[in-house]
Amino acid sequence: MTAAIEVRDLVVERGKRRVLNSISTTVPRGSVTGLLGPSGSGKTTLMRAIVGVQIVRSGSVLVLGQPAGAAALRRKVGYLTQAPSVYDDLTVRENARYFAALYGYGATAADAAIRDVGLADAAGQLVASLSGGQRSRASLACALLGEPELLILDEPTVGQDPVLRAELWDRFHALAAAGTTLLVSSHVMDEAGRCDRLILIREGAIIADDSPADVRAAAGTTDLEEAFLRLIQEREEAVATPGDRAGSTAVANERQTP
């Protein structure tokens, strides 16, 4: 069977800036892959390219064996945008039922998705009246609908309470066990350990692409955050261009985010 995602030499430019600089990676089916990196590193751009809404300069992205954005993929790929994209002036239930209808599912599937993200109690509330965390879970519910084969989740756990976060990760693994492929971005390193595979990207390039155990082994430390820092330093010493030095301060700041 083909890989869930196959990215080859992907280049994305925004204006004169190169956001993704010739990225190649493969995501196997039925796994949870973490896409990690500081904000501005190109995570969202890579995810948008995989969903097929990003204009790319060159390179190829194959999703479930088809070019990204192909019409047939639209019912197989679920996408959670970073900023919650649900209707503020509808209730959680109305939102979920609308997105369910787009995939040909009924009210039962919509209600199940709401329960899965722990919003059953708030189902009748307008999205505008929800907290930030609830709002992003409402958005997540709409992405989980329709049992997609591939789920692209852009920072699904930001602002969630730790218990809920753990529940959401359990849910992601349950989905993966049932055959769904998940690509989950995060800028929080403690979530990296929960993934089957990790892709670390920084300034539009891949720094590491391996299982958490192998990343730890390669860097010679058990702490993933420390491991990434070492990998970045090793890489910078290898390349040693002055321009990259300024970037490393940025990543150190970014790591402060809890």
Partner: protein, 251 residues
């Protein structure tokens, strides 16, 4: 396109409207309030011999202008919100076809306009004694077609606005020139030649002419149907243009 997705989208847009009580109240009350204003403005103005009284002439045209203007504004803001909130990008990653979305807006706001036009017409006919030679049903039909034209133009213009401030600025660009040149203020055959030509290129002109035909003739005239067909054609052309502004891929 899919009937199921179109129906779900229409229902979703109407549900959003239903949650917004104040907008509904404005849609219902405002035309009536403005008609009242117009009625008293023209109350003491004598009718020229052999011509309908000024209120009849103005109110008939205004019944078509309201839905056009209001639905243009409501739609351009609603569509802009879809673009800025990320819901449009999300919708375009689902099996939804662009036309499902555009027709969904057309049908949902067309229905809202039908309700608005029915209420405004009822007030004009039965409270203020509006007198037209032709039937009320045709007036409402033209008003709703005109509202759908407003929806289509709103969907299209929202592509050129990044903020709601910009979106409302398209009102004077799109609505006011058409209203000035449609024959309401100065009869079209009394305008300079180049203005007449300009007026003939604008769809609202035909909607107003259709209304005037209903005002002057007992039965629907060929010219009225031709005018209505031109407005409907303008709707289709604008929707196709609007579909072209919905890009699945962006930078």
């Amino acid at each position: 396109m899919s009937a199921r997705i179109l129906a779900a989208t229409t229902r979703r847009i109407l549900t959003q409207l239903r949650h917004d009580r104040r907008t509904i109240a404005l849609l219902v009350v405002m035309p009536t309030a403005l008609l009242t204003l117009i009625y008293y403005m023209y109350q003491n103005l004598p009718a020229p011999p052999g011509a309908p009284r000024p209120f009849d002439r103005i109110a008939l045209v205004v019944l078509g202008l309201f839905p056009f203007t209001i639905m243009f504004l409501v739609t351009s803001i609603a569509m802009l919100r879809e673009r800025t909130s990320g819901t449009l990008e999300r919708l375009l990653t689902t099996p939804l076809n662009k036309l499902d979305l555009l027709f969904g807006y057309g049908i949902a706001f067309g229905l809202a306009a039908a309700v608005q036009a029915a209420i405004a017409s009822a007030v004009a006919y039965w409270v203020f004694g509006l007198d037209t030679a032709g039937p009320l049903g045709l007036v409402i039909l033209i008003a709703v077609t005109n509202a759908v034209l407003g929806v289509a133009l709103g969907l299209f213009c929202s592509a050129f606005a990044r903020t709601e401030f910009q979106a409302v600025q398209f009102m004077p660009v799109v609505v006011i020139p058409q209203s000035l040149l449609c024959g309401l203020f100065v009869a079209r055959d009394q305008m300079a030649g180049w203005l007449q030509g300009l007026s003939r290129a604008l769809p609202l002109t035909y909607a107003v002419e259709a209304l005037q035909e209903v005002g002057a003739h007992t039965d629907a005239t060929g010219r009225m149907w031709r005018d209505l067909a031109i407005v409907a054609g303008a709707v289709i052309v604008t929707l196709v243009l609007a579909a072209a502004t919905l890009r699945r891929r962006s930078g």
